[in-house]
């Protein structure tokens, strides 16, 4: 009994430690749009938003080394699957269920190893927005499918929920890219600065928005391109 208790206590302490570490990280976004899935983060450049496979990408926050471990694990699993079977067999549901989530859970519960300090969202672009798959994952291996095409990942789950509500009422399918970006960056600023999320927050001006010395990282999984590789890194002012 005492060993079980010690293990539970250790897991609890690890959870607190990871959450504390993640509290310094800034949020990332993934948004299903008519032209594809837009992934947005603000970081140091090539630190938040990455290509995984032909139709897959990740936006993540946390320790850069741990983001890298999850990114590489996903890339390896996807390419092995695509090579040994076919690119069509590489699906986010299988990647997450049978490869990434168990690996994250094992890592979190291996109390003599340092935990992975990482959370984020994986995206898989489909033929239509209804076919898109967004999956948010957390440091302990839990993951969930996002059903409304908008993922906001932050260590502050309450703020993430409010941010989603705020964005949902303002994001429209016909909104142009600059408007969408302005809204996402306004929410990024508010969440990063710990501001109250409400009507006082205005759409950010892309020319003047203050990213605190960091750079906008943005990519589109382009559903319209005839190429098999759907990922396009976008310039910050697109």
């Amino acid at each position: 009994m005492s060993e079980l208790f010690q293990w539970l206590e250790a897991i609890h302490d690890r959870g607190e430690y990871v959450r504390d570490q993640l509290s310094h990280a800034t949020p990332v976004f993934a948004l299903s749009r008519p032209e594809g899935i837009l992934l947005v983060g603000v970081g140091l450049g090539q630190s938040k938003v990455f290509e995984i496979y032909d139709r897959h990408a990740i936006a993540a926050l946390g320790n850069p080394v741990d983001i890298e471990k999850i990114r590489q694990t996903a890339i390896e699993a996807a390419h092995l699957e695509g090579f040994n079977r076919s690119p069509q067999d590489v699906t986010l549901r299988r990647l997450m269920s049978y490869s990434l989530s168990p690996a994250l859970k094992n890592s979190f519960e291996s109390v003599f190893q340092p935990p992975l300090i990482v959370e984020g969202v994986f995206a898989e672009v489909g033929e239509t927005p209804q076919d898109d798959v967004l999956m948010e994952f957390s440091h302990d291996g839990n993951f969930g499918v996002v059903h409304d095409g908008l993922a906001v990942v932050s260590s502050n789950t309450a703020a993430a929920t409010q941010a989603k509500d705020w964005l949902r009422t303002r994001l429209k399918p016909h909104s142009n890219r600059n408007r969408v970006l302005g809204l996402l960056l306004a929410m990024w600023q508010a969440m990063t600065n710990g501001e109250r999320i409400g009507n006082s927050i205005k759409c950010a001006n892309l020319e003047t928005v203050d990213l605190g010395g960091r750079v906008l990282e943005m990519a589109l999984l382009d559903r319209k391109t005839p190429n098999k590789v759907k990922y396009q890194a976008l310039a910050g002012n697109a």
Partner: protein, 266 residues
Amino acid sequence: MKSPSAPQPRMDGDFLSLLPEHPLSRVLTSDSQALADHQIEATTVLAFHYRQGVLMAGDHRATADNLIFSDSVDKILPLDSDSLMAIAGSPAVALEMARTLETSFEFYRRSQLQTMSLQAKTRALSQLLKENIPMVMQGIGTVVPIFAGVDYSLPKPAPTIHFYDPLGAQFKTTSFASSGSGAGNVKSILAFQERWGSPAPHKMDLKQATTFALRLLTTAAQFDSATGGVDPRLNRYASVYSLRPGEVRQVTDEEQAQWWGKEKKA
């Protein structure tokens, strides 16, 4: 799918070393001597510099002994946005090599967040050919490819052409290359055209280069039964691709028909 252990990715971007660790991986070797007498082979492929880049073309025929096995094999294979491979020899091995390279290049690019250098790409193909030597020694699975890739180390990035022997030796050519049973005729014509032709292949535009490539394949087919050639009456054209920095472009059958038809009228 990978077994669910704590993440221990390799992080070196080397897909070829990752493959043997995975039980589903196919291995490019065989000990079946019995296949040697009836192996399927693909034939004439060629590549030459034209004004805007490199043009690569091949017929669609695959033969087994004196039998035509197929007239719809694609022997020009885009590996990524900066490289093309033309296969001659055994399609079974060559197509697997192409698939391995394609995955390997993309794996490296995504994993390391940079594209693989041209030197590394050509060496990767050499490595696969060397691993295939046991099959070559058994008389099956011989592959003699041509590779074209963009060299970004040049002051002005440009595509270059590389050809190989079956053992993996790699050579760079400044003008053209051809492989397969019809290659002898094609190389003679290309050498002639390069020296005395007007325009020389490297001065041709895409339409001229495509028409020239179709003529080369037609001539090769005239002297080599294992080359399919081009037959507009049967709406049978060739695999034709152009390579420029950052762009692999397929010349479609419709474009070939249109340009070939204009050439005939002229």
